[in-house]
């Protein structure tokens, strides 16, 4: 452990080089731009810039690329809050409360809360990496298909049952999500399904296309119906909004801590940032005393998913370095980069390339601090975008959505699909179908089914594999409790009423 700190000190020496600091600033700024443009995610951004880094030293190169990643993580929150368009999958849960806040004129607060929470989550994860990296790597190896399925199950279970809408509508919405996720190639049998011979459907329905349409375009249509203006128009631009929000944030330390732990855990088990954000949101909603107000612009509803997403995004770097297995698509691209720079991620990296590894870890600390400062200064600027009249901003958002939808898969058909999803989003929202379960199902449906079927292949078709060892059984157990929680809570409150008749 002491070794780790000595190594880290040395790492700071490397990362603190002025050239590397400059790379951090450039990386963060590029990353924010990438994060703001929906469709152009962190993975894309890193992949595109990767070849430019071949002439740098590996340490400088990875500092630049990871900072793009941090920047994209920060930037994803911006469009979620302002326009209800999540720039990245893990920003979806941020829209639930972040956008209502912006509509009621609290965009600055929402952005400050989102950025600060991102930082807290990432920082927590880095500290964890510094302290217990080797241990954590061992833990990640325990996760086979059955364990992975259990994690997805837990993510679903802690999120469902949260909506106020009619149960049949919630089920329809979630099942549509699952059905859309199933379109395309079935990974386990290698067969095409639900494509009906339409070549455009080969790739299935990308999550981002659905989200850009349902949330982004749907929101524009709803706004039109209510008259030509964003309701956030009256927002006062107050440069002190950052300080004012910071004063209120310590109140939610419990939510932050919980989300940090959820995030780190989900980042290491390679489930990733998206389920982490949904799970943290779902749990916060149940546990918080303001839970009933979630979805109407509760700051805690921004803190919970953002913290978890970033803790997960950062923690996902660890399995990549220590095992060579990417915890996120971005990590997968970085992994390719490591190979090209002549570094082989895997068990030997920490031993053979200690300087590189600790330089990287130190750069995570510095990069996130630099990032937080940079993005916080932009809060008033971004919040003021909402003052632009709707008839200018609406067509621009439409163009951004179309470009975003196209860049996800470089496919024009996706732009048409986005429009279809937009109309669908408007219709479903107006008829009180909840959209969140649909989105969650599209994101996780495919992976969950894949893990389930891989497990069954391994067990020869027996469901007992989900109870075959302490790890998988305990996750499944927690999942079942989480799924039945509303029922349990209901019974408890009844018991309490009968115990003390007032």
């Amino acid at each position: 452990m002491l070794d780790n700190f000595i190594n880290l000190y040395h790492g700071f020496y490397i990362a603190g080089d002025p050239f590397n600091i400059l790379l951090m600033v450039i990386g963060i700024l590029l990353g924010v731009i990438i994060g703001v443009l929906p469709g152009l995610g962190g993975a894309n951004g890193v992949a595109i810039l990767l070849p430019l880094t071949f002439s740098m030293s590996p340490t400088s190169a990875i500092i630049l690329l990871t900072c793009i990643y941090w920047g994209a993580l920060f930037g994803g929150a911006i469009t979620s809050v302002l326009f209800n368009i999540p720039g990245e999958p893990w920003s979806v849960a941020t829209t639930f409360d972040g956008h209502p806040m912006a509509r009621s004129g609290r965009a600055g607060e929402a952005l400050t809360a989102a950025f600060t929470s991102s930082f807290v989550g990432a920082f927590f994860a880095i500290v964890m990496i510094t302290m217990i990296a080797p241990l954590v790597a061992q833990f990640a190896l325990q996760f086979g298909p059955a364990e992975k399925f259990a994690v997805y199950f837990l993510a679903f279970a802690s999120f469902v049952g949260m909506s106020k809408e009619a149960p049949a509508k919630t089920i329809v919405s979630m099942m549509i999500g699952f059905a859309l996720a199933a379109v395309g190639l079935d990974m386990v049998t290698g067969q095409l399904r639900l494509t009906f011979g339409i070549t455009e459907l080969l790739n299935g329905f990308d999550f981002l296309i659905a989200v850009i349409g349902l949330f982004g375009i749907g929101e524009i249509l709803l706004t039109m119906e209510e008259g030509l203006e964003f309701r956030g128009k009256a927002a006062k631009i107050d440069p002190k909004v950052v300080w004012k929000t910071w004063k209120t944030l310590p109140r939610y330390w419990m939510t932050s801590l919980r989300s940090c732990i959820i995030g780190c855990w989900m980042g290491i088990t390679p489930a990733g940032a998206t389920p982490a954000s949904f799970m943290a949101y779902g749990i916060a909603k149940r546990v918080s005393k303001n839970g009933k107000n979630f979805g109407n612009g509760e700051i805690e509803g921004v803190v919970a998913p953002e913290t978890a997403a970033h803790a997960a995004g950062t923690a996902a770097m660890l399995p990549m370095l220590a095992l060579g297995v990417p915890g996120s698509p971005t990590a997968a691209v970085l992994l390719g980069g490591l190979l090209i720079w002549g570094l082989q991620p895997g068990p030997m990296l920490f031993v053979e390339q200690a300087e590189f590894v600790w330089g990287l870890i130190a750069s995570m600390y510095l990069g996130n601090i630099v990032g937080l400062i940079l993005v916080l200064t932009t809060v008033p600027l971004f919040a003021s975008i909402l003052r632009i009249p709707f008839s200018i901003i609406a067509p621009v958002i439409l163009v951004i959505c179309a470009i975003g939808a196209y860049t996800v898969n470089n496919n024009v058909f996706d732009v048409l699909m986005m429009m279809v999803f937009g109309v669908l989003g408007y219709l479903l929202k107006k008829t009180n179908y909840p959209l969140a379960p649909l989105v969650l199902a599209i994101v996780l449906g495919d992976s969950a089914e894949e893990a389930f079927r891989q497990s069954l292949l391994a067990s020869g078709g027996s469901l007992a594999i989900f109870w075959s060892n302490p790890l998988v059984s305990s996750i499944m157990g927690i999942g079942i409790v989480a799924g039945l929680w509303p029922l349990i809570a209901h019974l408890f409150s009844k018991l309490r009423v009968t115990a003390q008749p007032a």
């Binding site: 190639l185 095409l192 691209v333 895997g346 068990p347 292949l457």
Partner: protein
């Protein structure tokens, strides 16, 4: 007069395809806008890594006047990428890197394309396959592992691989045939994930490409038993202890008569001119001489065969028949 001259040249090009093919690669044609480099697989996989390395090498050594832009089109086991190239008839600013899914995807899914509908440019290398087990397993040699499989009931041993009805499963089926026992094949999304699942003990063996498992081998987490090639690998740099790629025996010598190599080749859309193909053949010849490419070949223990033109077409013809045969036997053809 000038007009007439240009027209005449066009006619010569159109008529004299075969004549031109005999000319040396004069490479008069050059790309005049960014070239799209389609990867029919997801980001982070073997083909993607190779494409991005190529992009980096070409940019670093300034081998092309315009930029090379990598685009992933992975839908339908890569079918999306191939269909895109097939439909870009006559577009010289588009190339595609292939893996075995060039043959397996149309057969397994029925997505309508065939390599003959694209223009073959060059074979860059062939990727090897190695049989791996977890280092904690007792099997030191392929023979010991084969004996264990033969002694146990069907489906006792689990083989992990990338994708379904693709190269890894084809090899698995061939191994099953050779041993007369069934293995449980579990498909995963990517080669790196397969290697980690083997380290975690969730599967018994894999047929990972060298580059996918090499880091786990260096950490002494996995052990190579044999290589699915006709001869041993030439690379003698020490990797784990005293072992190098060249110390792995062939599977054939270990009593497992299975050979499989995967194509890493470049294709262009149909209807491009010989001159344009020649430009890219020449480009990749230059790439092969760079130290970065040599390093990649060594790291991934690739088979460095390079082919272009008719030789390459003949090879493709053979490989297609071979795949058809293997997949028919395994029952992987769509509609069965």
């Amino acid at each position: 007069m000038k007009h007439f001259h240009a027209l005449g040249l066009g006619a010569v090009t159109a008529l004299g395809m075969t004549a031109l093919s005999m000319l040396p690669a004069s490479a008069a044609w050059q790309p005049n806008k960014p070239v799209e480099f389609i990867v029919p697989a997801g980001t982070g996989g073997g083909a993607d890594q190779m494409a991005r390395t190529l992009q980096g090498i070409i940019a670093k050594h300034d081998l092309m006047p315009t930029q090379l832009v990598v685009i992933n089109k992975s839908g339908g086991a890569g079918g999306e990428g191939f269909l895109d190239v097939k439909s870009s008839k006559g577009n010289p600013h588009k190339i595609v890197i292939t893996l075995s899914n060039l043959f397996t995807t149309p057969l397994a899914t029925g997505i309508p394309f065939n390599w003959k509908e694209l223009t073959p440019v060059a074979m860059l290398a062939l990727d090897e396959f190695v049989l791996w087990v977890n280092a904690q397993e007792p099997y030191k040699t392929a023979q010991e592992y084969e004996a264990a499989i033969k002694a146990a009931p069907d489906n006792t041993f689990k083989m992990g691989g990338t994708g379904s009805k693709q190269e890894d499963q084809i090899i698995t089926v061939a191994v099953e045939k050779a041993l007369g026992k069934k293995l449980t094949y579990i498909p995963y999304k990517g080669g790196g994930e397969v290697a980690v699942q083997l380290v975690g003990g969730h599967i018994n063996s894999t047929v990972n490409n060298p580059i996918e498992a090499v880091s786990q081998w260096r950490g002494d987490k996995v052990r190579p038993l044999c290589v699915f090639d006709s001869k041993q690998l030439p690379y003698t740099d020490k990797i784990q202890g005293d072992l190098s790629w060249s110390s792995i025996p062939t599977c054939k010598s270990a009593g497992l008569d299975v050979e499989y190599l995967m194509l890493r080749g470049i294709f262009m859309p149909p209807g491009v001119s010989e001159e344009q193909v020649a430009y890219f053949v020449d480009l990749f010849k230059k790439v092969r001489e760079t130290p970065e490419w040599q390093q990649l070949m060594k790291d991934g223990a690739f088979n460095q065969t390079f082919m272009a033109g008719d030789e390459f077409k003949a090879w493709l013809d053979g490989a297609e028949k071979n795949h058809k045969g293997l997949m028919q036997e395994a029952g992987f053809i769509a509609g069965n």
